[in-house]
């Protein structure tokens, strides 16, 4: 296989080029055991012992987390799975057919997964991941051996899944980077990888089947891509990219502590946009002035989390605590349109459909769950709430009422509530909306598409979306004036703030607060100072 590229999830930044070392502990063990003779009763006993050990494990965890409903139910379902007679029955059947215990487990789970996939729906991928964890647990339990970390020095580790312990050991033993078949960017493993600065890509489909020991591997932790056996040209390109990336990062670091003022002596502030935990870390690394926009709908990993207050609180609180004493602005779920769309009926025109606050006001249980989680995380006073897709001042008034009601019930001070101006209607109503809002954020990407009636995802009408259009800048300037007059903060979000030309234009027109992707901040500071 030459120059084969596969995508995964970008977990930890950096580029690394090196030789592969496969660490599939399950498979290593299988090969060892292949030498021995096969005895069906021994294989069945091995399965039974592993199963009982895991059942006892599960029971202990359930006892430990009996007050944490979510964890408890997940482990309980695992326990039921292990205790299910069909599992033991089928595994025994497979062993009797001549399979070893591990092979039987592998076959059982692949049969099971293909059955679930047959009844395909959008949740099955999540389910399959959960099931894979159980398979790993079983196989690891059966092998019951100390993992061998010799031979990882100067290698790129290719494996199915890594826990935090394994990452630390691999790092101590001198590995350059790693790629895994499973894993997510919210896991503890991903956080450890980033704090160790090891380039890493998780979630690479079929990885173990594609890579052999000693294959040459490039890991691109920026794009979340791995390249197997790169050709001469690709390797050269990546060596250059690696050098540039290393140098570039160094040159921007000088701007971390630099503060910029406009011609009138006003402070220019750069806030960050956050979609995930990586963005949060980058916010801290790049010394943003705060978080200007958390797209909360992107933090949702599974559909169940939309309804789960505890999970939401945990992640909101983590963000609020990490950024303290700076502030963080959480935009309420903006479901619908090109984001996570929960609408039952297909909409002919989702951009003009049930999205943002419109959806939330029609699904109050989702809104209330989110508000409780947000307000709980606002105890330190650095959390602000932003309302998306407003077209009427009544929407803002209704939200304010709801937020103050929930705050009172929780006995927490009411957080600041702002309005996102992203529709021409809201822009036109700014003088009324400002009275109901503690701050304003302009979602320029949407405001522009609605203003010019040009779909921002349609290449054919791209030329209609002009960042420097005079009438559009005039509209923004009008909003800015109203905010200044009322002494309310205004933040500009969207692509317009990320492009150096349009940013300079905005700064010259008196705008001071911008929210951009965190890795762009130092670059923009450098450009503004030039």
């Amino acid at each position: 296989m030459v120059n084969h590229r596969i995508n995964g999830i970008a977990i930890s930044k950096g580029i690394v080029i090196g030789k592969a070392k496969l660490l599939d502990f399950d498979k290593d063990q299988k090969q060892l055991r292949d030498i021995k003779t096969y005895d069906a009763d021994v294989e069945k006993a091995k399965f039974m012992i592993a199963k009982i050990a895991l059942i006892n494990d599960s029971k202990r965890i359930i006892e430990k987390y009996k007050h944490k409903e979510k964890i408890k139910t997940i482990i309980e379902s695992e326990l039921m799975f292990l205790q299910d007679e069909e599992l033991t029955y089928r595994i025994y059947e497979l062993i009797s057919e001549g399979n070893r215990c591990e092979q039987a487990i592998e076959s059982f789970f692949s049969e099971y997964i293909s059955l679930v996939s047959l009844n395909d729906n959008n949740l099955s991928k999540v389910k399959i991941n959960d099931i894979q964890f159980l398979k790993h647990k079983l196989i690891q339990e059966i092998n019951d051996v100390e993992n061998d970390y010799s031979g990882v020095n100067d290698k790129i580790i290719i494996t199915s899944l890594l826990d935090t312990d394994e990452i630390l050991k691999i790092h101590e033993n001198g590995a350059l980077g790693f790629a895994t078949e499973f894993g997510s960017n919210l896991s503890h493993s991903s956080i450890i990888s980033r704090s160790l600065n090891i380039p890493a890509v998780f979630g690479v489909n079929q990885l173990l089947g594609l890579v052999k020991d000693e294959d040459e591997i490039i890991i691109d932790g920026f794009l979340g891509e791995i390249i197997i056996n790169p050709d001469e040209k690709t390797r050269f390109l990546y060596q250059e990219k690696k050098q540039l990336a290393d140098e570039e990062i160094k040159s921007y670091l000088d701007y971390k502590e630099v503060h910029i003022k406009n011609d009138f002596g006003g402070k220019i502030r750069f806030y960050s946009n956050i979609n995930n935990i990586i963005d949060l870390e980058n916010t801290l690394i790049n010394n943003a002035d705060g978080v200007g926009l958390v797209r909360t709908e992107n933090l949702v990993n599974e559909i169940e989390e939309i309804f789960d207050q505890d999970i939401q609180f945990e992640i909101y609180n983590r963000i609020a605590e990490s950024i303290y004493p700076k502030t963080v602005t959480f935009r309420l779920f903006d479901f619908g349109y090109d984001k996570l769309n929960l609408n039952d009926e297909k909409e002919n025109n989702p951009a003009l459909g049930l999205r943002g606050i419109r959806y939330l006001l029609k699904n109050k249980h989702i809104l209330e769950t989110q508000l409780i989680a947000l307000i709980k995380s606002s105890v330190n006073g650095n959390v602000k709430i932003l309302i998306p897709m407003v077209t009427q001042k009544e929407e803002v008034i209704e939200l304010n009422k709801l937020i103050s009601k929930v705050s009172k019930e929780l006995d927490i001070q009411i957080p600041k509530v702002g309005t996102m101006i992203e529709t021409p209607a809201a822009a036109a109503l700014i003088k009324q909306i400002i009275k109901e809002s503690d701050f304003i954020s302009i979602g320029t990407n949407d405001l522009m598409q609605y203003y010019f009636a040009a779909d921002r995802n349609n290449d054919h009408v791209k030329e209609y979306l002009n960042y420097q259009d005079k009438s559009f800048i005039k509209l923004l300037t009008k909003i800015n004036k109203v905010c200044k007059k009322n002494n309310k903060e205004l933040i500009i979000c969207g692509q317009i703030a990320s492009e150096e030309d349009s940013l300079i234009h905005l700064v010259n027109n008196g705008f001071q607060n911008f929210s951009v992707i965190p890795t762009r901040i130092l670059f923009l500071k450098k450009k503004l100072l030039k």
Binding site: T73, I74, E76, S77, M80, F81, D84, E85, E86, L87, Y112, L115, V116, N119, D120, N121, N122, L123, S124, V126, K127, D130, I303, E304, F307, L342, N363, H365, I366
Partner: protein
């Protein structure tokens, strides 16, 4: 023997948690239970079986319960599905 139909009304469908809730319920009873969806028939006391159905919102499941406490079991199953497993509808 009782046969009946239920619809999955909770938005997230019959994912892990509802599947576990259903199996917990069915396991309490002595009666046998089979669930059928799109030609696939599974034992309603097996979580592996229930999860294999991967029933999403709006899908219909056919139940067949048979035994001494079939009436109570059928009643409780219907209630459980109607309530959307306590999840938002």
């Amino acid at each position: 023997m009782i046969e009946f139909e239920v619809s999955v009304v909770n938005r997230a469908g019959l994912h892990t948690r509802p599947a576990a809730t259903l199996v917990k319920l069915t396991s309490k009873y002595k009666s046998e239970i089979f669930i059928e969806k799109d030609g696939m028939r599974i034992n309603g006391k097996s979580i592996i079986g229930v999860m294999t159905l991967a029933a999403e919102m709006g899908s219909t499941l056919n139940f067949e319960v048979n035994g001494v406490d079939e009436n109570e079991m059928a009643l409780e199953i219907k209630e459980l599905f109607k309530s959307g497993f306590g999840e938002p509808l």
